[in-house]
Symmetry: C2
Subunit: 185 residues, 2 copies
């Protein structure tokens, strides 16, 4: 899979990629181990805060609890088969990065790996996990964001359950209907 | 706006509509008042649990805190202008349902109104709000779901910030790549 040329991106604007609801890949590392999981349950909880549901049966849950770090990687439609395969095997069966030929780059702020082939990589540190035992909910602060220089609008994948995905479609603007103070740019 | 013929839908399958990340309309009622807001920050927290970020400056925040109920309504692309206009005015300026010509139906389980023109309506009762002061996060249990009989795949709207929306695109299946136990149907 090709790597992508990326640029720094403002951490308080990651909502542009996450708010539309794409499936993401969460990578983690701790104490010589690493893993990556496919995740569809996440939400913005502030301009640079993201909540993620990471089931406690996942190896990733263990790794991020220990390391208190992760990278949220944004895959595009060309990676869909890999995204599904990552979601249908366990890191306990072997290193998923090797198994799926995922090239990685070291994080600048975290030890979890960035997946080169993804459109964007958001380095995150744990903000808090007071809800983790209750909901498997981790709240992350994005501390560094890397986004591919092109395309401007990546074709993301959105999970509908039952093995079916929605691919992101056309963009439409309604800027003219917004009050100026409701626009974040 | 036309109403839509709807059928009961299993509450533990609402993820099919919410997990892809659409903008929703949250309606609420309490003590003779009612309101509706546009919302893009939400996530699944269980098969019938949904977390929503409702800013404490919103009138809806006040109404749902008091009533402990809401309806999550799923609008489609034909309602986009109305969705944006609802998000750019306050219920304090007058009843938004009248202002935007939104016909409603009474909930079966909650007092908040269902918006007829939406593709789906999910009646919700408050599951807990221990995170509400911290994150404006309410956790809801879906207790009744109504979904339009057609189309099977509604064209939903997903917010990218800056006044721009992504419209849901084509559906693709990767069922063949899933382990049977990973499929929820």
């Amino acid at each position: 899979m090709p790597s992508r040329r990326k640029r720094d991106f403002p951490v308080d604007q990651v909502r542009r990629f996450l708010e539309p609801g794409p499936v993401v890949l969460v990578s983690s590392a701790w104490n010589g181990e690493r893993d990556v999981m496919t995740m569809g349950w996440h939400m913005m909880l502030g301009w640079d805060l993201v909540g993620t549901y990471i089931w406690d049966a996942n190896r990733t849950h263990h790794l991020v609890r220990k390391s208190r770090e992760c990278v949220i990687n944004l895959p595009t439609a060309d990676l869909l088969d890999t995204v599904v395969r990552i979601g249908n095997c366990s890191g306990r069966e072997g290193d998923k990065f090797e198994r799926f030929g995922l090239k990685t780059t070291a994080g600048e702020k975290v030890s979890a790996p960035l997946i080169d082939a993804c459109h964007a990589n958001f380095e995150c540190v744990l903000h808090e996990m007071r809800n983790t035992d209750l909901y498997n909910l981790f709240v992350w602060q994005v501390v560094k964001a890397h986004v591919a220089t092109s395309p401007k609008l990546p074709r993301t994948v959105h999970y509908r359950g039952g093995g079916r995905f929605m691919l992101s479609g056309e963009e439409v603007s309604r800027r003219r209907l917004f009050k100026p103070e409701m626009l974040d740019e």
